[in-house]
Symmetry: C2
């Protein structure tokens, strides 16, 4: 039956982001958070999106309170991983390095980030194989 891979479309991602921020929330709370960010959705829309997310298994709900309380079941990090991986495969020949280069060429880093990058690079080249006996 080969279940198709779980995808998270943009509108669902918007509600998921609220859950990441708030840790947990009811439909209404999500709705209000989204209002603050300019997303004017109806209550039903938000409910549908949460429902779809739950069906996909990326959020959980529990009904100890009056209304269902939803929580994220995956981390932002996981979603980032997947999206980046897919982007790199689709447009950068599976070479993350190409994307890095592209990013650096088009967007200057601030000083703090630049030094972080340097640190990482140094680590990387200093000890090529820390696990080797």
């Amino acid at each position: 039956m080969a279940k198709r891979p779980v995808t998270i479309p943009d509108s669902e991602l918007d509600v998921l982001k609220v859950l990441w921020d708030r840790e947990k929330a009811t439909v209404r709370e999500v709705l209000e958070s989204l209002r603050l960010v300019g997303r004017e959705w109806s209550y039903a829309t938000v409910a549908t999106l949460l429902d779809r997310l739950e069906t996909k298994g990326v959020v959980t709900s529990d009904r100890s309170e009056l209304a269902f309380v939803y929580r994220p079941a995956i981390t932002a990090h996981e979603v980032q991983q997947k999206r980046v991986k897919s982007l790199v495969e689709k447009l950068y020949q599976g070479e993350p390095g190409l994307l890095v280069l592209h990013l650096l060429k088009s967007h200057p880093l601030d000083a703090k980030q630049a030094s972080e990058v340097r640190a990482i690079l140094d680590d990387m080249t200093k000890m090529p194989d820390p696990n080797n006996a």
Copy 2:
């Protein structure tokens, strides 16, 4: 009428990539290129995708030969820009630097790429504003 933004779904991207590689191609040529990469689509499917791409204005066609010859009307670079921008906005708070850090942390660069990155960083910090009088 606010026409919705041009999006290029994955399957269309696959055919567009062939056009980027070959510079120009007929439906049948695209079909064959895709076969080589493991994409077993019917002729009609490829034709539909090219048609949709043309409607969106991202490829052009000309019929000097027997069959239409399609050419890309946007560059891979443009598509990369858009996709990356959107990814950064959606998952990295609009901070390209965060994505760079993320990439470097999870994927080691090879030596060549690493030195390229260093070079770019050096340029960046050495002369913050080369255009300034």
